[in-house]
Symmetry: C2
Amino acid sequence: VPVPAPVPAAPSAPLPRAERKERTRRAILDATLRLAEEQTLGTVSLRQVAKEVGIVPTAFYRHFASLDDVGLELVEEALGALRGMLRDVRRGAAADLESLTQVTDRSVDVLVDHVSRGRSHFLFVARERVAGPPPVREAIRHGIELFERELATDVARIPGTEGWSTDDLRTLSRLIVSSMVTTAEEMVHAAGRPGAAAQVEADARTQLRMVLVGALNWRSEAD
Amino acid sequence: VPVPAPVPAAPSAPLPRAERKERTRRAILDATLRLAEEQTLGTVSLRQVAKEVGIVPTAFYRHFASLDDVGLELVEEALGALRGMLRDVRRGAAADLESLTQVTDRSVDVLVDHVSRGRSHFLFVARERVAGPPPVREAIRHGIELFERELATDVARIPGTEGWSTDDLRTLSRLIVSSMVTTAEEMVHAAGRPGAAAQVEADARTQLRMVLVGALNWRSEAD
DNA sequence: TGTACATCAGTGAACGCGCGTTCACTGATGTAC
DNA sequence: TGTACATCAGTGAACGCGCGTTCACTGATGTAC
């Protein structure tokens, strides 16, 4: 009596073609991100990526036209993480009665969480923002600008900002974003050294509180 | 009657050897800085630099052991500019009676002046700070940390900060530095477009004032 | 001042290497009948 | 279900190029006597 055909112990399972292709594509994105941790995208070579993925260099072209295109997709992914961060900060922020300390603490918690979970993506954005190929750089600048804009609309809901000009709202959100971008860089830099990471986090909390104290006392000063 | 020997119309004047060497060295630094405006130091090649200077690639080694060494020297120059900036801000700052507006305005004026006059050096620092070869990156981080430290001692002289902890002083100066670094980047980016530059400048003034309003109201909040 | 020698910034040929990209190909997977 | 053909992810050889670095050299400038 013949037994039913055993599941083949294939080294790579017989997945549908589309899925296998998607896996290679994903592997290219991951390998590029990994290599860009120690170098810049500009110094990562197509051949290095192919080697890391385990394909022949020419197979790369089945998935992307150039490494710049890989970079642009990584920017999209990273900006998605940024959007998720903003969403998480907003969540529950409707309760206006919360204290300043609670608002800033929750914001920093969200930042810490996102940065630690998407470490390499944040590192990628921080670096390529100033050093990347022009199209990549431009995409990141645009994404951060959107982020500032959305943050400005959130800030406008803080009690006490009712009479603020649009310019002042934008300026405050730019100040917050520049502080957070610097903090994110330092967190990535401090990754693995718990003491340093804790200090960066504590510093971020204080900075954000200082900025918001400034904001709450702003109009009265300027009037 | 023989005329006195005419000054030779030499294409390159007969300077002493040491001086000619110094000129070539300077030309290498300048060429590297120029090339690093459009790329990263990591993607600038020794041969590109040699071509730009007008020497054969191998002559480079008469002056530097590697492009990294050129980068380290450029960092030294740029950090010197930073120190000069801090000195200029301090100059006359002893007059404690000045208003907040005057202090921040003078600080931003000094920043604008230094960034516009040392544009390529600031761009270099901004970029290589996150993207440069590790030794270059480390040198820049160290320089900025010194800058924060010195700024903290200046901040400690502002009336109203008498009771501040060392940590709070450092945090405030880090906040100011991160805002100024971002501003410097944006100024370099806005160079050539007078409208954009003016807006970055106005934004920087407001940011600094907001931060200082926060600082002046800080202890009373935190106590 | 004149001569003989030392120094050394810049030269030019040569090397081996990793690069991006082309091209014709292979062979497993997918599809039409 | 079985067969014949199409698709297409990955292959492997080959190309020309710019790279960093070596080496022996040249010839003007500098120095000792």
